[in-house]
């Protein structure tokens, strides 16, 4: 091959790479954009959720702990209705309705993560998913989660 043709191949290849980068970039960019616009949810503590106007809370992930007041298990164990309270300020609480399988680790005092939406009129959080925090995968919670009361401390 003559030197010029080597040069021109190298140059061409630069364009090919640039085109590939643009293509990959455009594809990833499009996917990211659609993902960010359609799968964004508010991550809120109970107190933050209460401070927000209900109509903005169409989709939210709520972090809090299970309050002892008014906890009603669906008799079939296929749902639960309870108050989720703020981790730092137990006075702040939101009524939650949840239909579906209740995790084993769900009980009073446990930290939960709820996904769902607010019914604007009733101020009830209709949860579509209820997860208890992975019970101390590495660390025990000092509040005595997952432990009979006698062992707390």
């Amino acid at each position: 091959m003559k030197p010029e043709s080597v040069m021109s191949t190298a140059k061409n290849q630069k364009w090919v790479y640039l085109a590939a980068v643009l293509l990959v970039g455009a594809g990833v960019g499009y996917l990211l954009f659609s993902g960010l616009s359609q799968n964004s949810v508010y991550f809120l503590n109970v107190s933050e959720a209460l401070a927000m106007p209900a109509e903005k809370l169409t989709q939210a992930r709520l972090f809090g702990s299970v309050s002892e007041k008014d906890l009603v298990h669906d008799p079939s164990a296929m749902g639960v209705s309870f108050f989720v309270q703020d981790k730092d300020d137990p006075a702040q609480a939101i009524r939650v309705h949840y239909k579906g399988a209740v995790p084993d680790t769900f009980k009073v005092g446990v930290e939960v993560i709820l996904e769902g939406s607010f019914a604007a009129d009733t101020r009830i959080f209709e949860a579509t998913s209820l997860l208890t925090k992975c019970p101390s995968k590495y660390e025990k919670n000092e509040k005595g989660r997952m432990r009979p009361p006698g062992f707390a401390g």
Partner: protein, 627 residues
Amino acid sequence: MHAISFTALILSMLAAVGLTATAGMKALKDDFDTVALLEKGQILLTVVVLAVSAVLLQALAARDFSYVYVRDYTDTFLPLFYAVTAFWAGQNGSFLFWYLCVAVMGWCMIYTPGYSRLDSRTKVFFWILFFLVEIFFLFALTGPSNPFMKLDPVPAEGRGLNPLLQNPGMIFHPPLLFLGYAGYTIPCCLALASRLSGDSRQWLDLCRNWNIVAWIFLTSGIILGAWWSYMELGWGGYWAWDPVENASLIPWLAGTAFIHTAIVGRTRKSLLRTNVFMVALTFLLCFFATFVVRSGMIDSLHAFGGSRMGIPLFVFMVAALLLTLYVCLVQREDDSAHIDDFASRPGMLFLTSWLFLCLGGIVFLGVLWPVISSLWSENPVGLDAGFYNRVCLPLFAVLALIMAVCPWFSQKSGISDKTGLGLVLGAGVGAAVAVFALGYAQPLALFSATSGFMMIFSITLYFVRNKGARAFLPSWGAYGVHLGVALMVVGVAFSGPYKVESEAVLTKGQSMTVGDYEIVFNELTHDHDNPAMDVHAALLTVTRDGQAVGDLAPEKRLYRNFEQSTFAEVSVIPSLGEEIYSTLLGFNEEGAVSLKISVNPLVNWIWIGGTLSCLIAFLCWRKIERR
């Protein structure tokens, strides 16, 4: 023993600091005679950490509750087997385990042939960097994360190990992850040291085996974690895109991208700086993963707030990043400017690495989105699992497609075997038509499944048509790993979108239908003879079109030390086709049970493919000649 162990760790930290300072001062005066001293220092550190680990292990086995750590993670009811695994169940112990892995690997490094080929300059730089990492761990273990804290008075009983962790998966999943994290320490230190000493080509060959081993550990750790969550946690899924799962995936994506750029680097003698950066990035992301878990910065299912490791980890990461950037950007030298054709194997490897890096970037962004979004949003906005599925899965499917066509490109330019590529593309069309005809029309699943089948066909055909590949053991390793990946791609393509799930409350004799299967509830049994737990089991029979398929016995267990909680033990009818998966959600006094049953098509191919990938990767190992 508490004080002795703690003092031993303090002393080894001081020794490491002293050695690093001495070697550094001498290196500044161009004196590199410190190699033998540094090696002895590493052996000393390893002996110390082995000894203190033995102390902790002994305390766990003996349930010596005078250790806070032992009290927190074991009790007298715990079988010895699980008491020992409590070593890595808590933060302090897992840090000790990580450091133990790093130290032992450093000690092994001294005797490897690859190490013997380094000049003393590189060796000194290597040990200085390696000691800095160890000093960080020793600082953590003697300060914010001390596993040898003493408890006074000694309690009679411990708090017990979380029942979810009492599973064979827990024995292997965390240590494999930590071995993987630790494994990247050596390639990273070696890369930076080589570049600092001006020898930037050889390290890729010398750390190749380390890199493969680290990758195998990390990969198998992640796959076992997925299996554990599928079989034990009763979450019903193998991957939930939880921040903590993602945190271990991010270094894996970077490490996998690095494996591919390293091939280009080794065979084409290019991408020198890129490779140094990639390995350092992988190493750093291992710490980032830990940072996410420890710092409580991201609220996650697994996260726990208030750990004191957040700031030290952050400082360590920033320092390491600055050093990496300095080495990669400021230290200029002859990086080869050669570019291969895009339509060549190096070109495809390049593209693969980009995609892996993009995926890593996306997951990183997703994990940090609640933090990033708080810059402009009053309340943090996060991303749900749908985000990752939407954004990442198509990219994984494209990667599978690239893997299917890559073998047919030549090293330099163009396609080396047009017939082979033609056959693969033909097979792809055939697979797509067949999958569609079978009723799997969901676009992403169709695309992924087709790419997966193409990969399987492509790899098989490549070995049929290519004698050179058959004769060379490492190529069995490399293609075998990809074959395993192809099986996983097919498994995910079907088990993700085509899982059928149903929940129902049944009384004795009633039945429910899930997909094509009919499940009859026969009876509820209660076993209270086991001293560690109380077991309730629902006995179910599964039939399909009147034919017996098998029996299921999902359980609810009440562990002795965790009386307020019950734990579900799932039961499955294993199958290479459709696996029936059952969870006993609850039951009442009248004997009615609520059940969750799902049919998971091809899910076991994920575990088969994953196992194949991890095991066969050892064939990639190459012998390095001693100097």
